[in-house]
Amino acid sequence: MKMNQAWKKQGINIRPGTVITGKWHRKRYVIKRRLGRGAVGTVYLCEQNGRYAALKISENAASMTVEVNVLKSLGKVQGNRLGPSLLDVDDWEVSADAKYAFYVMEYLDGKPLQAFIKRHGQEWVGAFMLQLLGDLEHLHKAGWVFGDFKPENLIVVPSPPKVRWIDVGGTTKIGRSIKEYTEFYDRGYWGMGSRRAEPSYDLFALAMIFLTIYYPTRFEKGPNPKATLFKKLNNVQQLHIYRHCLKKALLGHYQSSAQMRKEILEAIHNAKTNAKTARRHTGTRSAAPPSNRSTWKEGGGIMLLAIVFYLSSLLLPY
């Protein structure tokens, strides 16, 4: 019987302990557990020769090949490692009419962005913005746009904490139409731009990622999507110092990640200087007005950020 697409999409269930042997390269992978299920396949934690890796498997050889192509291209980009490194590409032939395509990649063992920030503090917001913008700059320079940029596709690995990208299925060559996206992070959905792959497409999504941290259940578009976004942004006190930059990103006013990164750094620096003056104030006067106190608190966070930056090169308890 033919299966309905929606059902077929649920993918295959492989029991832990199952051994998958590649048809072409004959490597053996022992399935440990399921890590997640995505649009085109299922990802499992597996073991090969005592090493852990992530194995993505699907019935759709074409889509898998497209992802493998992206991972291969990302592997060639100079600078930071963008996306998990690719270890093997093969097929699993269960029987004559049950064939699956799979690829094996570096296993990224980490925490979701939101959980990490909740546990380790707001100071990380700025740090992760800078990391992500740095990586995006490398990616864009190499001629690609990430596309499906969202918290679910990011993972924070420890020692030192670093945001890594997991799902590169949406990565698209600049100038083409975005391959894969998620509505909430897609500027087309918000009526704030096209779905053409250009650096500003990712920067919109980046702003949305940081906004979502404070709206875990997300929010509705409303009759005026642009006004909704700005209102939501203005309501987040923790993003106060980045507000101007994030607004520019939402409006598509940045031509490059480098430009946005520079302004984020400036914003952090300014907040730090303001904090210093504010503190000198509170030091000389007995009672500081409440508005000053709040600046101080924010500035204090920024000071911490600088320290945390230094610390992040050392081992941090995870």
């Binding site: 309905n4 509505e183 053409r196």
Partner: protein, 246 residues
């Protein structure tokens, strides 16, 4: 490989046809003329078991060489977009596979080729998908039961246009709904490069219990040969008439 034109019908319906010829037959007829028929079955959230009309949705897409997808209202936008794109890829891949067979022999298709060599083939498929011209006729079931789904359908269609207009290749869209007042289908929007303005033209609901899906598909096929389509494409070829990007 030369740049081609992909022709698709996108049928959005929630139920079973009950008038005229079997929709699978007219879908086969469409397929034979190089037009893929995709079917999206829009259901209500509470329907859990295999719903009525499910089999018909499947059959039409199978006969029409397209894809079928059952969705719930909320997920419609992304689904419409995904199904359209996937069929494009599938069609192009089928075409590339045929070419491969000519070069490599009858048993060759993507799955039979070593994974390391699939990359280049998929690059060709992707290139073609991005640059080919696309003609999509959207066929909306506006029978009474679709009542509360039409606003979502409208949104999904506008969204499809946002996605497809980001491509390098040219697009032509037209929208028909069925049943029409006196005919099987009724024009909502003639062939045009964008779907921005559909809010004004989107159809009022037809009440009554008839759903002539089969005849609607047959009529839709004829629209691909229409002069208005040729004219709209010719206009664009004239210098200075190039469709503005962004």
């Amino acid at each position: 490989m030369k740049k081609g034109t992909l022709k698709q019908i996108l049928l959005i319906t929630d139920g079973c046809s009950n008038k005229g010829e079997d929709p699978s037959v007219t879908a086969t007829f469409a397929h034979e003329q190089g037009i893929a028929v995709n079917v999206i079955g829009v259901l209500d959230d509470d329907q859990t078991e295999e719903p009525e009309g499910f089999q018909e949705v499947e059959d039409i897409a199978n006969s029409g060489g397209g894809l079928s997808q059952i969705v719930y209202k909320q997920a419609l936008s992304q689904t419409v977009q995904m199904v359209t794109k996937q069929t494009m890829t599938q069609t192009i891949q089928g075409f590339v596979n045929q070419e491969l067979k000519q070069i490599l022999g009858p048993e060759q298709n993507l799955e039979e080729i070593e994974p390391d060599k699939r990359g280049e083939i998929m690059e060709v498929v992707e290139d073609m998908g991005e640059t080919c011209d696309l003609e999509v006729l959207i066929l909306v079931d506006t029978s009474a039961s679709m009542h509360d789904k039409l606003p979502t359908v409208k949104e999904a269609i506008t969204d499809l246009s946002v996605s497809l207009n980001a491509r390098i290749g040219r697009n032509r869209f037209s929208i028909y709904h069925f049943p029409g007042k006196r005919k099987d289908i009724q024009k909502v929007l003639d062939w045009s490069p964008k779907l921005d303005s559909i809010s004004n033209v989107f159809p009022k609901l037809t009440s009554g219990g008839i759903t002539p899906t089969g005849p609607a598909i047959r009529e839709a096929v004829y629209q691909f040969g229409k002069k208005s389509l040729l004219r709209s494409l010719r206009d664009e070829d004239e210098p200075g008439m190039e469709e503005a990007r962004h």
